[in-house]
């Protein structure tokens, strides 16, 4: 049916062989905009698994418009006070559930303590989407080709969930279960995400390849490391776009740890990546292309990280 048909004020639901025609308009739902986390938790519990949290709406609304999801009630967390903050607590950075992408991109704490996140934010979507989308919403959405789940996974992230049963801390490794699947219980929602702050002497590299700026990544490689006595130490490696979840690659970290990050080491990293990654083939790129791309991005990111780390590194007996 044509939704522009003259005079029709609202889209009606038309039956096609017993199915409701998707007319790019949302199905019916109720809506509530609580102002405290306890009211959110109560509404989620009352919805008995049929409710959906809406934060920025930049991933949820497209699915609702196409009727890929049909919640009975939308619980809007945008009016909950106190969730819009980025704070440094000891060596952890806390990002609240209504912190939007444009806030993360401009934040002074992120710039100083998580420069790799600052860099990554510039690859996220476009200005207008960044004005609304939230860090925690992106993490909850768990798209394996997006920046914030990847940062959460490889920077020792923890997701802080809340429900009427109380607070639960979920390590990122347990939070990301599959593509678009997280380990929240139906009555839980995310109040914040916590990441390890980077040490002042950390070097970092972030390399992403997307077909157009702001598109979802075909592959992305991120790393932080330190230079101690001329050798790489405390190496972390994350990847996205090449698996069902964002990845932390401990095996690759092991290859780099204790080396001088020379070209032969980078070749070993690229070889090993080609062996362990199992990316998908889709309309955007083949699995082989993604595997090749991963090696190229890994080398670039590691070179950048190592050159940053060397300028800040220290020697024990000098």
């Amino acid at each position: 049916m044509n939704r522009h048909a003259g005079g029709t004020k609202r889209v009606e639901e038309v039956s096609f062989a017993g199915e409701v025609a998707d007319d790019m308009k949302p199905a019916q739902f109720d809506y509530i905009a609580p102002t405290t986390i306890d009211e959110v938790a109560a509404a989620l519990a009352a919805a008995e698994g049929e409710g959906k949290i809406i934060a920025g709406g930049q991933s949820l609304m497209p699915m609702i418009n196409f009727r890929l999801v049909k919640p009975t009630i939308l619980i809007d967390i945008n009016r909950v006070a106190g969730l819009d903050r980025i704070e440094l607590h000891g060596d952890r950075v806390r990002i609240g559930a209504t912190v939007r992408h444009h806030m993360t991109a401009a934040d002074a704490i992120i710039r100083q303590h998580l420069p790799i996140v600052h860099e990554a934010m510039h690859h996220v979507a476009h200005m207008t989407v960044r004005n609304r989308g939230t860090f925690c919403g992106s993490v909850a959405h768990a798209d394996p080709a997006t920046e914030m789940p990847m940062m959460t996974r490889f920077l020792g992230g923890t997701v802080i969930a809340y429900s009427q049963r109380g607070r639960r801390e979920i390590p990122a490794a347990e939070f990301f279960v599959g593509s678009l699947v997280n380990s929240l219980e139906p009555d839980e929602f995310v109040i914040r995400v916590e990441l390890d702050a980077m040490r002042p002497d950390a070097g970092w590299g972030f390399e992403e390849f997307a077909k157009r700026h702001g598109d979802f990544a075909l592959a992305c490689f991120a790393t932080t490391l330190h230079c101690v006595d001329g050798m790489a130490s405390d190496v972390r490696v994350g990847m996205m776009g090449v698996g069902e979840t964002p990845l932390r690659l401990e095996e690759i970290e092991g290859i780099i740890e204790g080396t001088d990050v020379s070209e032969p080491v980078l070749d070993m990293v690229a070889d090993r990546l080609a062996g362990i990654l199992m990316p998908n083939t889709d309309i955007h790129a083949s699995a082989d292309y993604r595997r090749h791309l991963s090696g190229v991005l890994a080398k670039r990111a590691l070179r950048a990280a190592w050159s940053r780390a060397k300028t800040k590194g220290f020697k024990h007996n000098e």
Partner: protein, 159 residues
């Protein structure tokens, strides 16, 4: 059916309406308020045709529920100027041939309103990146970039 009564300010005028919770802000503007200058292209956040300003920042009106805008200030293309007296961004588009069919134009003009308020726009690269969330099938973008470059120069550095 879940109905809500909302009050919004649109281009400075307060409007109160009762709507279904599922009403998109784009449909609310076009159907309930008869402000059809806001265009709808894709309805999933990709094309940017539906861009409006919501509480000072650009937003996809197809990804926002009207009920979420309760108590908010909205700016739409209708607030930019009229046929007799074009707004400054509209004028720059006319001078630089920044449109052909005009379908994408309201979205571009609202996005550029946000850009001129909040973004330095010092280099062409930055201008192109900043416009990347809006799709135009006609112009090839060059003339839109030219218009924005001139507007940014006219505005000068931010703050």
């Amino acid at each position: 059916m879940s109905e809500k009564t909302i009050t919004v300010s649109v281009n400075g005028a307060y409007m109160t309406r009762t709507i279904e919770a599922r009403t998109l802000l784009s449909d609310f503007l076009r159907q309930d308020l008869c402000l059809t200058g806001t265009h709808i292209g894709c309805e999933h956040g990709v094309c940017g045709a539906c861009t409006v300003i919501l509480d000072g920042r650009s937003a996809r009106s197809c990804l926002t529920l009207a009920v979420q805008a309760d108590g908010s200030e909205i700016e739409t293309i209708e607030g930019q100027g009229s046929v007799d007296k074009l707004g400054r961004i509209q004028e720059a588009f006319r001078e630089h041939h920044g449109l052909q069919c005009g379908f994408c134009t309201p979205g571009f003009i609202m996005a550029i309103t946000d850009l001129l308020r909040h973004h330095p726009l010092e280099t062409d690269e930055e201008i192109r990146e900043a416009l990347s969330g809006n799709i135009c099938r006609c112009t090839g973008y060059e003339n839109i970039v030219n218009a924005v470059r001139e507007l940014a120069k006219e505005r000068g550095p931010l703050e």
